[in-house]
């Protein structure tokens, strides 16, 4: 290769694969040092390093397009045969580029958004740490290393969600004073950080259990090594442990990707700075779960093809994904905080990706679902990052997280208005011009043509979710930009605040992503085609998964829509039309007052209330896992601890230890004669036990 020509001692591609994740870590480490010299310089340095990491990722791209793969290993702990390595195959290279470039844009945005924050060095440190950990997950060649990145992501998210640790009122989420089932629906940043940390930890524990289980049989953590010799799978399958192990691994993904039933942390994660939310939702953290499934799914599918059945694994993914998509989508329809709406939307869209990955494993055409899931991941990353950053601008300008405090902003913030519409259209799946349309359409197609027995109900859920998505996006845009100005804004203007556009460094990043959503959308079908081809080769080369090439009967549709399933197309067109239409009626045209509509009969009112209260899931989780254990522990403390344990065991044990310590000390008299006596006795003792 080129490296040999240049006479370099290492392969250039491998070096840049390492650099992609090492650079952010280096940057994070030197950040405090730079902060000591100049706070101003930290921003430039952080953006610069993020750019270098992204460029390293781009340099790998030609490799991906030729379906090459770099697998570079160094020894880590030789004594137990552990190796550290990077695995740059088309999947991880494209993912690394998505992560790298979107993080880079978010970093630029942060320079504007976080301007003047006192703890800016801490912010940059954790942001870079976050990106580095994510890239580590993406480029690792083994599960153990993934787990390191996994924990790094968890730690960074904890630090960033509770970044404003002083818990000021404006940094909370939820409505003050509102209760659900007797519990406050109002969370401080530090509480939210802890919640995210603990809930994702539940998944992490499952993941490490699954990992170790596989290691126990396979003796390796490496993805390629697991594929190379599959005798371990046969053994595990024979003992009925294969599917549980993979489902445990999927548990890790459920936690990180905020899937049902570990979804509740995602909402409170909105207490972090908006740049953090954008990073969590678009490029890192929640995508880590999807990525892990994408790493594992071909392996499991290949095993299935070899006769080791693991269908339940895909069924679990499918059901979890579909449930989450619908459940969180519904909640997005009623919430009044703009960031929460976007958060619900993320959970729901990730659910889509999981769903289609699940269906991929259950159909003959694995590559269809696989490509659809990845395509949706890319397009979601773009428009969701754009939407979040734009929402951050709104928050910045308006100074409130409630959409009811906005309204009529389209004249004051023209650029944000246009870009948010463009990115919003992507989320709604506006036909033929947005990436969101094509990716969603390919999901519909993959589900519809899968031939699985659950295909039709799942398809219905997918379409229903699409209607909901289009509706809440229109609602969000309508509430923020249309209608008359809210009282809050009027008051601000009276006080002399001028409502103006966000600064350059803020609108450019989300502008770029919004434009990309449309630009790639215009050539969406050929983009998808390219991706499909690439993954067909990749799955064939690396996993030996053959895909049957089948021509779709395509007599109804015009020629440029070759390869599109007509039913899927009709479904996505009508979903968009219905959802957007309803949204328009309520929130843009404002022909019907939504509040009156909901209150018009008890049925609507009840549904609205249930959804607004998050299906009571959060409250139930809190009652079961926080309130009840606390209550129990207090009770235990009062009645059991204080009597039995304290008086009986604790004091007793303590006394016993104390007493024995005193005895030991008592022998330590300081009198040399007695020491010598003990020495002599000890010698006798040793000789005696030798004689036994």
């Amino acid at each position: 290769m080129a490296a040999e020509v240049l006479g370099l001692p290492f392969e250039v591609g491998a070096a840049s694969a390492w650099l992609v994740w090492i650079l952010p870590f280096i940057a994070a480490l030197i950040m405090p040092g730079i902060g000591k010299i100049s706070k101003h310089a930290t921003g430039y340095a952080a953006v610069g390093f993020a750019l270098m990491s992204a460029i390293s990722a781009v340099s790998l791209l030609p490799m991906a397009l030729e379906a090459h793969e770099i697998h570079d290993q160094i020894s880590w702990i030789d004594s137990i045969g552990l190796k550290a390595g990077v695995l740059a195959d088309p999947l991880s290279i494209i993912m690394a580029n998505v992560v790298g470039w979107i993080s880079f844009l978010i970093m630029i945005y942060s320079t504007g958004y976080m301007k003047g924050d006192k703890s800016i060095t801490r912010f940059w440190f954790w942001m870079l740490f976050f990106i580095g950990s994510m890239q580590l997950i993406v480029l690792s060649d083994n599960l153990l290393q993934v787990f390191f990145g996994w924990e790094g992501v968890g730690l960074a998210s904890y630090a960033l969600i509770s970044f404003w640790y002083r818990d000021k009122k404006k940094d909370h989420v939820g409505t003050e004073g509102r209760t659900v089932l007797g519990l406050l629906d109002y969370y401080s940043p530090t509480h939210a950080g802890m919640k995210a940390f603990i809930m994702t930890k539940v998944g992490d524990v499952m993941m490490i259990a699954g990992m170790l289980l596989i290691f126990l049989f396979a003796g390796t953590f490496g993805f390629r090594e697991l594929m190379h010799d599959t005798s371990w799978a046969t053994t595990m399958s024979a003992q009925g442990l294969l599917v549980p192990a993979f489902i445990l691994l999927f548990g890790g993904a459920v936690g990180k990707s905020a899937q049902f039933p570990l979804n509740e942390w995602l909402l409170e994660a909105m207490t972090g700075p908006t740049a953090v939310s954008a990073l969590i939702h678009a490029a890192t953290m929640v995508k880590a779960g999807v990525f892990l499934v994408m790493r594992l799914a071909p392996l499991v599918f290949a095993l299935s093809a070899a006769g080791i059945l693991a269908d339940q694994f895909f069924e679990v993914i499918l059901l979890v994904g579909a449930t989450t998509a619908l459940l969180l989508g519904l909640q997005g329809m009623v919430n009044s905080e703009i960031k929460k709406v976007l958060a619900y939307s993320t959970g729901s869209q990730i659910g889509y990706m999981m769903m289609v990955l699940g269906i991929a494993g259950l159909s003959q055409q694995f590559v269809n679902g696989y490509t659809a899931g990845f395509f949706h991941l890319i397009s979601h990353a773009m428009f969701k990052a754009s939407l979040f950053m734009a929402a951050g601008s709104l928050l910045h300008v308006v100074g409130s997280r409630f959409m009811t405090d906005m309204g009529g902003l389209r004249k004051n913030m023209k650029k944000t208005y246009v870009f948010m519409w463009a990115a919003g259209l992507g989320l709604m799946g506006a036909p033929f011009i947005t990436t969101g349309f094509w990716s969603k359409d390919s999901i519909f197609g993959a589900v519809y043509t899968s031939g699985h027995e659950w295909a039709i109900p799942i398809f219905a859920i997918a379409v229903l979710t699409a209607v909901i998505t289009a509706f809440y996006t229109t609602r969000m845009l309508g509430l923020v930009f249309y209608g008359s100005k809210s009282k809050h804004i009027q008051k601000m203007e009276e006080e002399g605040h001028h409502i103006h556009e966000a600064s350059l460094s803020m609108w450019v990043p989300y502008g770029i992503l919004a434009v990309l959503t449309i630009a790639i959308g215009l050539v969406g079908l050929s983009f998808e085609g390219g991706l499909h081809e690439l993954f067909t080769d990749y799955l064939e080369d690396s996993f030996g998964i053959h895909s049957v090439h089948n021509e779709i009967e395509n007599s109804i549709l015009p020629e440029f829509l070759d390869g599109i399933n007509p039913v899927a197309l009709a479904a996505s067109l009508s979903a968009f039309a219905i959802g957007t239409g309803l949204g328009y009626v309520f929130y843009i045209g404002r022909w019907v007052d939504p509040v009156k509509f909901v209150n018009s009969n008890i049925f609507f009112y009840a549904i609205h209330k249930v959804i607004l209260n998050r299906f009571y899931l959060n409250a139930i989780v809190y009652w079961c896992f926080v309130v009840a254990p606390l209550w129990l522990s207090r009770g235990v403390f009062r009645y059991f601890e204080k009597t039995v344990i304290d008086y009986g065991m604790n004091n007793g044990l303590q006394k016993a230890v104390g007493w024995s310590a005193k005895v030991v000390q008592g022998t330590q008299t300081g009198v040399t004669q007695s020491y010598l006596f003990v020495f002599g006795a000890g010698l006798l003792f040793v000789v005696l036990i030798l004689l036994i």
Binding site: S79, V657, A661, G670, A681, L683, V686, L691
Partner: protein, 494 residues
């Protein structure tokens, strides 16, 4: 014959020359208060020695662990391993003394004694002859008697020295008695020949052979601080200058282990007895008593002294299971190297605290984390490494030791209990390490930072890098240990 360029001879040449010359130079210079001048010379000599050992390893000039030789010394990996551990400790002591010995009398003699004692320690590890070993043993011990009592106006230093000397004399006598018994039984003082002689011994003489082995355990056990030969240890460690305590706890103690492995473990293998149980019992007693006593201590140096007794117990686990699992000796060696750094760093931190704040009482350490941040960090990391918290270096060596005990469980029923006792003891030890940490970081008002001695900072940084670095990436050390650990099995013949 050993070659003139072999490691032990070169070390004798370097350290011996410098050690002898230092007092002579001091007489010639007639200058007082030039501590750092002598310290630098001693430091350079030690660095040259450790550099030579490292060079010998890297240049592949060192035999794999031979253990037996016709000579009185053998230049093998086992000795080299101990030489490195001991030289690190001697360097710690010397660097720590830059600060500690400032404005104190007779620095030249002080450093000269440290160097001479270091030669002794290193030679013990290289000895393959009982007489050579005894000479080296005395060369190691006698300077330390003087050093412990170096603060001659300080009564507790004097008391410490006296107790140490009395016990040292007693144990030396016992070792000589053991040597004479084995010489009488086999007609040789070469360890290889002694062991060969033991293996063909007339059964009626067996009790005498056992007596000699018991003598060796007791004699070396004194230096290792095994229960019940440990009682001098807390008094001495507390009274001695803290830098010298470093030398004792981290250095001379290891010489005891080196001698024990060379003679007792290998010797008893051929005696074909159920001797391992004896070592196992001593191991459990040692760690339990050490830890229990440490919990009640109010004085940091004394607490560390008891903790070092407990660690002798952990290391002994490896010796007890050595015949059944190759991990046993490897774990012991690994723990010995780690312990040298961990305990050395902890005692140097104490020395730094004593010289700047003049306190050793743990209650007075409140808020130390803010007053002396680097010293505190180094101390805390060494304490947690001692407790075996991952991912610090101490974790891997304990894993190896306990793993060795579990591994041996397939041959011998009681071995896993050693691992269980070890784990319980590690948990117990966290109690007092955690207590110190809490005092330093979570109690006390915010206090101003005071300047920390530079030499102490240097050692702290080295130890932190060592403990964290080799904790995350233990591979080189594991390989080194595997290379240095002798392989023994039941029924081995020299």
């Amino acid at each position: 014959m050993l070659e003139i360029s072999s490691t032990p001879l070169v070390i004798i040449a370097i350290l011996g020359t410098v050690g002898v010359l230092l007092p002579i130079i001091s007489i010639a210079r007639k200058e007082k208060d030039s501590n750092s001048f002598y310290a630098v010379i001693a430091f350079a000599a030690l660095i040259a020695s450790i550099g030579y050992v490292a060079y010998q390893f890297l240049a592949d000039n060192i035999l794999p662990s031979a253990l037996f030789s016709e000579d009185v010394l053998v230049d093998d990996a086992f000795g080299g391993f101990f030489a490195i551990a001991m030289l690190i400790v001697a360097i710690f002591t010397t660097v720590g003394s830059f600060n500690y010995m400032r404005k104190k009398n007779y620095p030249a003699v002080y450093y000269s004694l440290i160097l001479l004692s270091t030669i002794g320690m290193v030679l013990v590890a290289y000895s393959t002859d009982l007489v050579m070993l005894f000479v080296a043993w005395e060369l190691m011990s006698i300077p330390t008697y003087v050093l412990v009592g170096f603060m001659k106006k300080n009564p507790s230093s004097n008391e410490a020295a006296l107790k140490y000397f009395l016990f040292g004399a007693l144990s030396s006598a016992i070792i000589v008695y053991g040597i004479s018994l084995s010489y009488g039984l086999t007609g040789s003082t070469n360890i290889g020949e002694v062991i060969q002689g033991y293996s063909t011994l007339d059964p009626s003489l067996l009790p005498l052979a056992l007596l000699s082995v018991g003598m060796f355990i007791a004699g070396f056990g004194f230096k290792m601080g095994l229960v019940p030969f440990h009682q001098w240890l807390p008094d001495t460690y507390e009274g001695a200058p803290p830098t010298i305590t470093t030398l004792l706890a981290a250095g001379t103690k290891k010489a005891g282990f080196a001698a024990t492995i060379r003679i007792v473990v290998l010797g008893m293998v051929v005696l074909n007895l159920d001797w391992t149980l004896a070592l196992g019992i001593i191991a459990v007693m040692t760690m339990t008593i050490g830890n229990i006593a440490a919990i009640m201590q109010k004085n940091l140096a004394r607490m560390l002294a008891y903790s070092s007794i407990a660690h002798a117990g952990y290391i002994l686990i490896g010796l007890a299971v050595a015949p059944y699992s190759s991990l046993g000796l490897q774990g012991s060696l690994y723990q010995i190297l780690n312990h040298a750094v961990m305990k050395g760093a902890a005692f140097i931190a104490v020395a730094g605290i004593v010289t700047t704040l003049a306190v050793t009482n743990i209650d007075k350490l409140k808020g130390l984390g803010r007053r002396m941040p680097i010293t505190s960090l180094g101390l805390v990391i060494s304490l947690f490494a001692l407790a075996g918290v991952p991912p610090l270096a101490g974790f891997w060596s304990k894993i190896m030791l306990f793993g060795g005990a579990l591994d041996a469980g397939s041959t011998i029923w009681w071995a896993p209990w050693l691992a269980i006792a070890g784990v319980l003891n590690s948990a117990l030890s966290l109690a007092y390490y955690g207590w110190i940490t809490r005092k330093m970081y979570f109690e006390g008002e915010t206090e101003k930072r005071i300047s920390e001695p530079k030499s102490v900072i240097a050692i702290m940084i080295f130890s932190i890098v060592f403990l964290v670095g080799f904790g995350v990436y233990p591979d080189p050390i594991i390989k080194f240990v595997e290379f240095a650990a002798p392989t023994i099995s039941l029924g081995i013949m020299p």
